[in-house]
């Protein structure tokens, strides 16, 4: 028994070393950093331990702006992208002809380079001296004035960010959901049909509960992914996000570390811990809600 245990630990050692060095140690380190007040990057010294870093971050208007942006992004994009993906997968699984072609088309954004996607969105939304962008052109047909989506009002920028995020995250969700829908046993639908169940009721009472674990998985990963949004924002609005008023929490952390105003690992760590706490809370709430509505 003892011998076996030692062997088992030996087998686990490589993974534990790897996880320890790259996951556990940094995690602890971030906690420690976030508590070290007045940390000096050059001399690696600090004054004392305390919660000052948190107080600073939570009072920093840039952080509050980032927090607000992130929350808006999460609250809009997670339900919208999951809902749309569900609709599209339902459509996809109810057509026979050209199903594979459409599946490929819907999956294309997933394998497309982020920068290329960013460029396409530029063409759609960006105002230049030569053109107002495609979206503005369409708007002008309805008599709506040109709106500067990239450097203009806050809501316009938020709209672009949300559209972009939804568009980027949807392919993966569609892929997973079409798989889940295809795995529902057809006899359930036949049984429901013989009993004269209307289509919407089949969807809400049979299809949705059957694929609820998948939907739940997508919602949780969607929340986490959206809370960690950063690269999309950079692709759309450039690197000076604080100036654009479009920073996110992860963007704020990055700026605190490496940005032009950077060099404050303590503030960055405190912000990271706050983000961690938010994501943890949301995930726990999700898990609680799911107990009632997810059927494994």
């Amino acid at each position: 028994m003892e011998q076996n245990n030692r062997k088992a630990w030996l087998y686990l050692l490589p993974a534990m070393l790897f996880l320890g060095v790259f996951l556990v140690y940094p995690l602890i380190d971030v906690c420690v950093y976030s508590l070290e007040e007045g940390y000096n990057f050059a001399s690696q010294t600090y004054w004392g331990l305390g919660l000052y870093n948190y107080a600073y971050v939570l009072r920093d208007p840039y952080f509050l702006q980032a927090l607000k942006n992130t929350f808006i992004l999460v609250i809009i994009t997670v339900p919208v992208s999951t809902g749309l993906a569900l609709l599209i997968s339902l459509g996809l699984s109810s057509i026979r002809r050209l199903q594979e072609l459409y599946q490929t088309i819907y999956f294309l954004p997933y394998v497309t380079n982020t920068l290329a996607v960013g460029l396409v969105f530029m063409i759609l939304f960006k105002q230049t001296p030569y053109t107002d962008g495609l979206v503005n052109q369409v708007l002008s047909w309805f008599g709506a004035g040109p709106i500067d989506f990239i450097d203009g009002p806050y809501w316009a920028k938020m709209l672009v960010l949300c559209v972009y995020t939804v568009w980027v995250v949807m392919p993966f969700k569609i892929l997973i959901l079409t798989g889940a829908l295809a795995s529902v046993d057809r006899t359930y639908y036949n049984a429901a049909k013989v009993d004269g169940t209307p289509g919407w009721r089949i969807f809400t009472r049979i299809t949705l509960p059957m694929i609820s674990p998948t939907v739940f998985y997508l919602v949780i990963t969607g929340f986490i992914g959206a809370f960690k949004a950063y690269s999309d924002v950079v692709a759309l609005f450039g690197t000076d996000l604080n100036a654009a008023g479009m920073n996110t929490i992860v963007g704020y952390i990055y700026d605190m570390l490496y940005g032009t105003s950077g060099g404050y690992p303590s503030y960055a760590s405190a912000a990271a811990i706050v983000l961690f706490a938010i994501v943890l809370t949301i995930t726990c709430v999700n898990l609680l809600v799911s107990k009632k509505h997810v059927h494994y």
Partner: protein, 364 residues
């Protein structure tokens, strides 16, 4: 509710170049099910019995032919408007709903004038549950039930909406042997007490024989014979039906008729008045052998098997189509093989002659 099938045909399209011709799963199927009867559709896998059931339920549309429930032509009606109760082979109970919710599910679909109150639905569900004796299981999930209990829930769900006809697809195939015996009695009892015209599909002839008022033997989409189980067993119309019904299976021999006598090998084993001289296929039920020293039919003795009340004599013969001939005699019958041979007399009613090529019955 009387059910009438008229020249029902279901063809599936061919699959492109490899298999361009259409495949007929059910061919020119005409049959009438009297009101309140329990009918078994019986046949080997792929004979079209499940397709027939799906045509009855409306889940599939026939290529041609008509279906009547009573005097109503329901051929064009979709499944939901036919008022059939269907029990699926795998039961198709909704796993996320309790037994109670599963049973009330069909009731909740009713709209307008037929809409039921919660209380009415609960009462009807309880009544259906009482019929299959699962009142104690109402708040469990299907995964917490045994196979037999799931089967009952499925039947209750089919019955709760007072279907015009009840359809059962291989209702016993997922149950173990003991439960199967018990459940088939149960199905019989439920059918009797509700009086609902019931059609069930099975490949197990014993199942069909034991509970059906009437059986329909099918092969390759064509009705081979219909009738009361015993009558079909005693008087098969063709070789397929004779072979398909009966356990142990019927013994088949290459024989010939000369001068109104049936020859198997070199022995004249049975007078067959009225049959012209020709080569025939002779089939003898296991219970058609009477062992005795003066018997006309000589086989090589292979052994005896005592199975409870019956004794099987195993023997073989060069003209038999199977390596072993199995005959069943009641225990205590003297069977005395001499020099490795055993002699039988044959019971005329248990010997069937069939045309050598077409398999059609030659009656004598």
């Amino acid at each position: 509710m009387k059910v009438t099938l008229q020249n029902l045909t279901k063809e599936y399209p061919g699959r492109g170049r490899k298999q361009p011709q259409t495949v007929a799963a059910v061919k020119d199927f005409s049959f009438e099910i009297p009101d309140g009867e329990l009918v078994g559709l019986l046949g080997p896998s792929g004979c079209g019995k499940s397709t027939t059931l799906n045509l009855l339920s409306g889940l599939q549309k026939p290529t041609s032919g008509r279906i009547f429930f009573g005097d109503d032509d329901v051929t064009e009606l979709p499944a939901e408007s036919r008022g059939v109760g269907l029990v699926f082979q795998n039961y198709a109970l909704y796993p996320h709903l309790t037994v109670r919710q599963n049973i009330t599910f069909p009731l909740e679909n009713r709209k307008g004038r037929d809409k039921l109150t919660r209380q009415q639905m609960a009462d009807m569900a309880m009544e259906a549950a009482g019929l299959v004796q699962i009142q104690d299981l109402m708040d469990r999930k299907p995964a917490e039930l045994s196979g037999g209990q799931q089967q009952r829930v499925a039947i209750a769900r089919a019955l709760v909406k007072m279907p015009r006809i009840l359809l059962l697809d291989e209702p016993l195939s997922n149950l173990d042997a003991r439960l199967r015996l018990q459940t088939r009695e149960e199905i019989r009892r439920i059918q009797r007490s509700t009086g609902i015209t019931t059609v069930f599909v099975t490949h197990d002839q014993e199942e069909a024989m034991s509970i059906s008022d009437r059986i329909v033997v099918m092969d390759r989409g064509v009705i081979q014979q219909t009738g009361k189980p015993q009558q079909v067993y005693d008087d098969p119309d063709n070789l397929f039906v004779a072979k398909f019904l009966g356990t142990p299976p019927i013994n088949v021999f290459d024989g010939r008729v000369r001068g109104e006598r049936l020859y198997i090998g070199d022995e004249a084993v049975l007078p067959v008045p009225g049959i012209a001289d020709q080569d025939v296929t002779a089939a003898i039920r296991p219970e058609g052998f009477l062992p005795g020293p003066g018997g006309a039919f000589t086989c090589q003795f292979r052994g005896m098997e005592v199975m409870g009340r019956d004794v099987s004599i195993l023997s073989c013969h060069s003209s038999a189509q199977t390596p072993v001939i199995r005959s069943i005699v009641s225990a205590g019958t003297a069977a005395a093989p001499e020099a490795g041979m055993i002699r039988f007399d044959l019971k005329p009613g248990k010997v069937f002659l069939f045309h050598r090529d077409t398999g059609a019955r030659l009656r004598f």
